[in-house]
Each structure stands twice: as C-alpha cells, then as structure tokens.
C-alpha cells in the first residue's frame, strides 16, 4: 500500500481543524497509541500524528483531508483491544475519541441512552442504576473500555448467554464515513426494517468502514439479585453437556456459564492459594443466575445445581453473597494472571465452536500443546461456545522458538476449530493479529464480498487499513 507521509504542513492543517492543543507529535506521547493489549513486541506500530477531535464535523474534515492526501486514518479508543484493531499499522493519523466522552442523553421513557464513543462503558451504569436500569451489552473490560471500541468490535463478555453482545443494544448511531460524510443511522426504534441495516454492518466492522461519533444504546431492567454456582465435574464432556440441559430441562437461561478446563482451574487455584478440591476436578463451570426476586433466583440456582449433581457433578458450591461470589469469580478471573507466572509471553485466543463441540475441542487442543511442548489452557464462555484458549510460552524455549511455535500452533488450533464448525474469533475481532488466518475460515467469495463493501465505503482504503483482510 502506497500512502503518503504526514508532512509538517499536514500537521498544521490538522491543528487548524482540531486546535493545536489536540495534536500530538512527540514520540513519547504517541507511544501509547502504538499498541493495544496485544503483545507490544509483535504488533506495535507508531502513528505519525495523533489528533483528538471534539466533533463529528472535525472528524469529517480530517477524513476529507486524509482522502485527498492519501494518508491512512486509524480510530483509537481506550486501547483495551485484543486483536490489534486500533494499531496504526501503516502509520498516518490516529484519531483518538478520548475527548468525545459525554453521555448526551438518558431517555428513561424509551429506556435508551445516547453517548459519545469515548465514554467508558461502565460509566453508563452509574447514573441509571438508581432508576433500576443497566446497560447489558458490556465486555469483561467494562471498567476501562470505551463504547466506541465495543461497537467497533461488537464486544461480548461473561454475561452474553442471557444478555447477548453489544450489537443487540445498538439502536442507532452517527457515523462519519471514510469519505467525510456525516450519516445518521437507525434511531430510538426497537423495530426498523427501512432498507439495509447499515448500523449493524458497522457494528463489528473494526473501524474499517467509518468513525462512530454517537451511539444510541438500549437499556435493560437492572437485576437485583444474583446467585453463583461453582460446579466441579470429572471431565469437560460432563460439564459441557450441562449447557443444553440447564436451558431445556431446567428452563433457565443463566446470565453466564463459564467453563474452565483442568489446567486453567488448577493453575488459577494454586496462584490464588485457593483450597477448593480442584485436584479431583477435570473441569469446572461457573454458572450465574440473576433476577428481580430473591426467592426466584435462589430457586433457579437450586434447579441448576440439582441438575448438575444428577448429571454427575462432583460438587456444587453456592455463592449468594459478595464474599463467596468474589471467591468463585476470582478463580475464573485470575486464570490469565496465573499463567503469567509461567510465562508473560502468551497468545490469548478467542475461538468459538458450536457449544456441543467443546468436549471434542479440548483433547485436540491438548494434542497441540503436547506436540509443541507448551501449555494451552482453555477457559471462557461455555454458554456461547466461545473459549479463550491461551498459548503460553514454555520458559525453556527461546523467543525465536516461541514465535515459530506460536505461528504453527495457532494455525493448527484454527484448523481444529474449522473442522468442528467454528471460527477464529468470537468477541475480540480479527484486527491485524488474526488477519493472516482469515482464509482458514472465510472462503474467497466471502472475502471478496467484504472487499466490495469496503470499497463502497472507502474507495481509497484510508480507513483503518491492514485490518481483517487485505484488499488484494
């Protein structure tokens, strides 16, 4: 791709658009815009200039400038992404949405909120809680991530079994196209089939089709009570078998059904000095139910617990207060940290398979781990079939060996996923990290359709280039 460099003259023109104070060119300050949560040494790339506009108009002008001068533009939010989606791989201009951080409107009558993209997702929940509402579409990084990034990646999280992912809650948006038009899409409408649903095309497009400058999100009734069950099983199969049983036989849709394989729960328990009888467990499920009435929620938890014990669970622990709930969730939450003790060099994967395929997936992953002499714990959202299998470097291997192993092992992992009818990312996105592997799961016709859509929005390919797929 032949892009032009950002010249001092272009920096000046950017300053004229957003104000000189909001243009960053010092290496030191730009460093934080060169990476997200993916490993810096593998994926980071410096921008040439970072701008922090305040309005859609300013962004439209930047887009027109970038189009005329053929300079790549990369949108940047909180930098909590896990696929390199916000990394300026071709340099150019990074547009940070940090100054577009206002909650514009809380509409209680319609149970919707209008926010700018730089709002921290969890900040939506504070003012609406006392009105008995919450925003349900949030990912695990809710306290740091921005709404704009959630929309770009169609983020999901631990509560997606019941509440779904970001896209379910995006009712409308304002978009600045890569050619500099400002478009209003959707509205405060629960139903809307007026033409193509472009807003849902933008959701999950990883910032390659435009810059979202306003989002209308649907709110949900805030559940008042929750109960968690930490259930120990002999093997992954008996654990995973519970997912359809809970929903069909139990008639309950839990908030979360989190899965941890043997390696994950053992490493996390040891790291936390948690003395649950994890040695006997071949897998664990962490199941949460929530609702508005305490007795109803407790009853649901009991039904699920009984079903688990009937179906061969070793033990079912019940956590219905903060202390015990924290204890259960910290086993799940600390898996990634626990493996950092083994090695900080990891590849956090985000595969998704049909739920019933998880038991077949686990032994295949174990084979790959054994072949390359690395650890690959698998844990994540069993209720969605979305597992964060994580390749952990063997400390005995050199970095060169590790990079080589990672590349090969990831391909084999993806091949397994494809064979099982799954795909390579459930909620983190493709970005630049998984772009080389798109052809494993997406055929040439599908990729060509995506390219045509991209060309229709962005004829000069200036908007977040180098992500998801290549144009040739």
């Amino acid at each position: 791709m032949n892009y032009n460099k950002v010249t001092p003259e272009i920096v000046e023109r950017l300053a004229a658009i957003v104000g000189a104070r909001h243009v960053v060119t010092s290496e030191e300050k730009m460093e934080s815009f060169s990476h997200d949560e993916t490993p810096v040494e593998q994926y980071a790339h410096m921008p040439e200039v970072v701008v922090a506009p305040r309005t859609a108009q300013e962004i439209a002008e930047i887009m027109k400038l970038a189009n005329a001068e053929l300079i790549p533009v990369t949108p940047y939010g909180a930098g909590s992404g896990l696929s390199g989606g916000a990394i300026p791989v071709f340099g150019g201009i990074v547009i940070s949405n940090e100054r577009m951080n206002k909650i514009l409107e809380i509409d209680y009558d319609n149970m919707m909120v209008v926010v700018e993209p730089g709002v921290v997702t969890n900040d939506i929940n504070a003012p609406i809680a006392e009105h008995g509402l919450f925003y349900a579409g949030y990912p695990m990084s809710v306290e740091t991530c921005f709404v704009g990034g959630n929309v770009a990646e169609n983020a999901g999280g631990g509560k997606a079994v019941k509440y779904g992912v970001t896209g379910r809650y995006v009712m409308g948006m304002e978009l600045v196209t890569p050619t500099g038009e400002i478009v209003q899409l959707g509205g405060k409408l629960v139903k809307d089939v007026t033409g193509y649903d472009i807003k849902q095309l933008i959701v999950g497009s990883e910032g390659t089709l435009g810059f979202v400058t306003k989002v209308i999100l649907k709110l949900s009734p805030l559940p008042k009570f929750k109960v968690d069950l930490l259930v120990l099983f002999r093997d992954p199969k008996s654990a995973i078998n519970m997912v359809p049983v809970i929903m069909s036989k139990g008639g309950i849709i839990p908030t979360s059904i989190e899965f941890m394989d043997k390696l994950s729960c053992q490493t996390s328990c040891e790291y936390l000095n948690e003395h649950l009888p994890y040695h006997e467990a071949g897998a664990m499920l962490l199941i949460e139910v929530d609702g508005t009435r305490q007795d109803a929620v407790s009853e649901d938890a009991e039904t699920i617990g009984e079903l688990c014990l009937e179906n061969g669970a070793i033990e079912a622990y019940v956590a219905d207060n903060y202390t015990t709930q924290e204890r259960c969730w910290s086993v799940r939450r600390n898996i990634a940290e626990a493996f950092k003790v083994v090695s900080p060099h990891q590849s956090l994967e985000d595969i998704v398979v049909p739920i019933a395929a998880i038991p077949a997936f686990i032994p295949e992953v174990e084979k790959i781990a054994e072949k390359y002499d690395i650890l690959i714990p698998s844990y994540g959202h069993a209720g969605d079939g979305n597992l964060h299998s994580t390749l952990v470097k063997n400390p005995k291997h050199s970095m060169e060996q590790w990079f080589d192993i990672e590349k090969k092992a990831v391909v084999e992992l993806y091949e397994v996923v494809k064979k099982l009818g799954g795909t390579i990312s459930g909620e983190h996105g493709i970005g630049c990290k998984r772009k080389p592997f798109m052809n494993i799961v997406s055929g040439p016709q599908e990729l060509e359709l995506m390219r045509r859509i991209k060309r229709a929005f962005d004829p000069n390919n200036i908007m977040n280039p180098g992500k998801i797929f290549d144009m040739e």
């Binding site: 948690e274 622990y317 019940v318 207060n321 903060y322 202390t323």
Partner: protein
C-alpha cells in the same frame, strides 16, 4: 467433641463508601456477611468434628436478619445455630455482648471447645472471645494459628505472638480465638444450603435465656462513647522532579538519605 462457634454478621466492607461529613459508613445497600475471620473458626470447628464426632453449633447475637449468617454457617457444615436477638440487646458493648453470649452458651448445654474469630472487621476489638472465656471461667488462648493436638481432656495449640509462635496445652473446656493461618474455609455446598434451609434456628430473647436485662444493651454496658474523632491523614507523597541525569542522581541520593534517616535501610 461439642463445639460452639460465636459468629458475627458484619457489613461487607470492601465496596463501602464513607460519608465524608459525618465520618460514618454509608450502610444503605451494603450487604451483610459472616465476619471473615469467623469463617476460619467455622472451618476449624468442622474439621475437628470430622475427626472426633460431636456437634458444631453456631451462635450469633444480632438483628433478626443475622439468621442469614447462621444459615450460611450451617450450609458450610455446622449442625445447627441459635440467634440471640431482641431489642434489649441493642447497643451492647463488648462486655455486655460477652455476658449475653456466655449465658446463651450455658443454655445450649455442655461444650468442650468454643472457637471464635480473632476479631470482627467492624468493631475490631477482639474482646468478645476472651470476654466469654472469662464469664464462663474456661481456659483461653488467643491468636491461635494451629491446633497441634487434642483429645477429650486437653488441647494443644500454637499461637501467634509478636516474635514467633508459642505452644500452649490447655485443659478442656476451653475457648480459642483463631487467626487466618488455622484453616482454609470451605464454600457452602448446594446440599448444605438445602440442609440449612430446613434446619430450625431458634431465636432467644433475654427472657428465654434467663438473663438480667439490666446487664444488657446501652444501659448494661460500661463502655461510653464520648467522642468520635477522624484521624488526620498525615501521609502524603512528595514528587522530586528530575529532568536531567544530574538532578536524578541528586534525587536518588536524597531518597537514600531519607530512608536512612528513618531507619528503613
């Protein structure tokens, strides 16, 4: 071995907000939990029962909803519980509380061992356990980190002291207050929760225990809260700017001198 475990329901304080004007805790919406240190006593008690048989009974003095804490303890594996509750107990200090609990324990019946958490996270006094021991006139060991051995007549415990540990042998019945090192509390199970729901938890008022109401509550408490003072925050960081190498070296030397002056290095 019959074991009694006095427990306290306390506010869950990890997410607690303080009212900056009054200096008190905002209790609204704060969940109540078993005092975290009591969980270690409960675990130690259940383990002794598993080894020697007998029963583990929890007892709590508090408002009616402290029943929840008792049921949670039963769900963990205790056999039963008693709630000591009534308006006459409100405002009791550690002396009155220890008195009321000791009289209640007498009513429960013969016991070999009383296990307490070392202190409660709200009051933070650590006085009620030893108070009960003195009212009941039984042997006492505080800060116990390990039960070395025990039989029907004697218990040998290791207790945490400032410079290490000391080992004490005591005649039973005895009261032991425990620290975190003693055990890893188990989680309540589904079967335990079901059992706890079916277990009757009697509620005893002063009249049922047969104690003198004049020795209870605010009037029966020798402690008087005269004044509550907020400690002044005297801690504060100091940032030494060091824009170049020379000033950085000077700043490091200054830091070393400071640490030496405070005997840290």
């Amino acid at each position: 071995m019959n074991i009694v475990i006095p427990i306290k329901q306390v506010p869950e304080t990890s997410n607690v907000k303080m009212d900056e004007k009054t200096g008190t805790m905002v209790r609204e919406g704060v969940e109540s939990i078993i005092n975290p240190l009591d969980l270690y006593a409960i675990e130690a008690g259940i383990q002794l029962k598993d080894r020697f048989g007998g029963t583990v009974t929890v007892i709590s003095m508090g408002p009616p909803n402290a029943e929840k804490a008792i049921r949670e303890a039963i769900a963990m594996g205790c056999d039963g519980g008693v709630l000591v509750s009534g308006r006459e107990f409100a405002g009791s200090d550690t002396w009155a509380t220890a008195y009321a609990l000791s009289e209640s324990i007498k009513k429960i019946g013969a016991f070999d061992l009383i296990l307490c958490g070392e202190r409660a996270t709200d009051g933070d006094t650590g006085q009620v356990g030893p108070g009960i021991a003195s009212f009941l006139d039984v042997s006492l060991a505080t800060y116990v980190s390990r039960i070395v051995e025990t039989d029907e007549k004697e218990i040998v415990v290791e207790r945490l002291i400032e410079d290490g540990y000391e080992t004490l042998a005591m005649r039973l019945p005895a009261l032991v207050t425990v620290v975190k090192e003693i055990s890893y509390p188990r989680l309540p199970t589904l079967r335990g929760k079901q059992k706890a729901r079916k277990t009757a938890v009697p509620v005893w008022a002063a009249a049922e225990i047969g104690i003198d109401a004049a020795k209870l509550g605010l009037n029966g408490s020798p402690t008087r809260v005269v004044k509550i003072e907020m400690p002044k925050v005297t801690r504060g960081g100091k940032i030494v700017p060091a824009p170049d190498e020379e000033s950085a070296v000077r700043a490091v030397d200054g830091l070393v001198d400071f640490l030496k002056s405070k005997d840290f290095i």
